[in-house]
Structure formats: C-alpha cells, structure tokens
C-alpha cells in the first residue's frame, strides 16, 4: 500500500474522528441510539482501518495483541464485577441501585449502565481487533493485482 498516497492521507485524517465518534456513541447511548456494542465495533474499525492501510505489523506496534486479548477478559470482568458488587451490597445481581446511596436509585442506575456499557464496549472492541489480527496475521501479503 506504499504508493496509495490518497488512501493513506485520507485514512490518517479519518481515524481520530472515528475514535471520537466511538466515544460519542458509547457515552451518548443513554440519550440516543448507541451503546457499548456499536461503540466497540466503531472503535475497533479505527484500528482495522489503520491495519488495512499501513499493514498488520504497524498495528501490532500500536496495539500489542496481548493488550487486546487482555481487554476481552477485562470487559467481561467489569460487567460481571458490577453485578457482583451489587450482590455484596445486599441487592440482587446487577441491581444497580446498590451503587448509590439508599434513596438515590436513579444515580445508581446511571452509574451501573455506564459501567456495564464500558465493559461491553471494551470486550467488543478487543474481540473485533483480535479476530481481525488472527485472520490478517495468517494471510500472505497480497499484491494489488491479485484482486
């Protein structure tokens, strides 16, 4: 892809807005369409676009595969941990009202939704990058003419 100047410049300009948009989708999920699943996918797309244009090895230098693999587990851990915390606070599993003072159930719900959506987003983004890396790492270098 060394000679595709337009692709390289445009994707370099696009990657930061894609990541910003992913965060918008993540944190605006309470108010409009969106949430952890969509935000995770959009965030992963930024990395995948980088790998498509600059090569998988460059992506490995930006994001270690070990970090991506750890992110998969940490996301589920955040989600399940939120539920377990409310269990320890004497409420039902995943009853987020346990996260706030008694009488402020809505605050607890907001915090709980924020936490579990963050967990979902982290897991989905990491899994997408890991799956892409698993496929792309095995592929031989393709010449442009092969397509």
């Amino acid at each position: 892809m060394d000679h595709h100047y337009i692709l390289r410049v445009i994707s370099k300009m696009l990657i930061p807005p894609i990541m910003l948009y992913a965060f918008y989708v993540q944190f605006h999920g309470d108010f409009g369409p969106g949430g952890g699943f969509q935000a995770g996918v959009i965030f992963a797309v930024a990395f995948i676009l980088y790998a498509l244009v600059y090569g998988v090895d460059k992506l490995r230098m930006v994001l270690s595969p070990l970090v991506a693999r750890a992110g998969m587990a940490v996301g589920v851990l955040i989600y399940a941990g939120t539920g377990t915390y409310s269990l320890f606070m004497g409420k039902n599993f995943l009853d987020y009202s346990a996260l706030a003072e008694p009488g402020h159930a809505q605050h607890g719900q907001h915090l709980g939704i924020l936490l579990v959506e963050a967990g979902v987003g982290l897991t989905v983004a990491s899994v997408m990058v890991v799956i892409f890396l698993a496929f792309a790492s095995r592929a031989p270098q393709i010449k442009d003419t092969d397509w």
């Binding site: 369409p33 996918v41 998969m72 996301g75 989600y79 987020y96 719900q109």
Partner: protein, 167 residues
Amino acid sequence: MILRNLFAVVMLSGVFSLLSAALFVAMDAVDVAFTEAAVGAGISTVLMLGTLALTSREEKPATHSRALPLLVVFVTGAALLYGTMDLPPFGAPDTPVQLHVAPQYIERTPTEIGVPNIVTAVLASYRGFDTLGETAVVFVAGIAVIFLLHQSSRRRRDDDDKGEEEV
C-alpha cells in the same frame, strides 16, 4: 446471473447489509440499524475479505445438480411468507409483544432508571443479565478464534526467515 467471483459476492452482501440498515431506520429501529450498519456492513465484510485472502477468490464449479437446494430454498421461503400472513400489521398497538412487558418498561423507566433511551434501559438494566450473556458470547467467540487461527509470533518470525532464505 451466477457470480463466481467471491470478492463481488462479499461486496454485494455488504451492500445488502447497508440496505437492511436503511430498512431498520425506516421501521424506527435505530439501535438495530446502527448495529447492522457497523457489524453487518463494516466488520463482517472486512472479516470475509480476510477469509478470502486465506482461501480462494473464485468459487469452484458445482459438481452436482442444484435442483434440490433450489427446491429447499423455495419451500422455506414460501413457508416464511405463509407465516407472515398471521402476523399482526406493522406498528399495530394491540400485538402480543406490545401488551406483555413493554408497557411496564415504558411506564417505569422515567422513574426507576431515568435515562431517555428506553432501549438502553431495557438492554443494560432490566435485561442486564441477558446482556452479560451476550458479552460473554462475544468473549467466547474471540477465544475460539484465537484457538483456531492464532500463530505464535515466534513461529511466524521463523516462517518469515525461511521465506527470506528462499528468496
């Protein structure tokens, strides 16, 4: 009519996904449309292209008759169309799904959860356990792909070295 170039097939399925996303928007299911556009048209297409790079880019000619698969497709399609005859009209307020727990969610979300997007309230709070399961499914899928396709970086480097020697 019969497309053997799998690259074109993957691209067409991506286009199909994007069009379905537009259809979901028209049916006021924006959250679903969002997911379809991001996952169906975006990531799936890239992963299918990755698979093509590992396998073949041309479909092999069929060695057996296609009459039976065609028949199965037509019978299934006819059964599905017949099934839609019994469905209530789109957007009807008295369908069973609108009368079960949905009114409860709509009534209780503003006071209990306090977020404007009821879809998020249902997904993350009322049905938080389901979503935990879905996240676990995504996690397990990632682990399965690692088990099936992962090459350790040491082995890959060995392959690279061999390749250079051959050159």
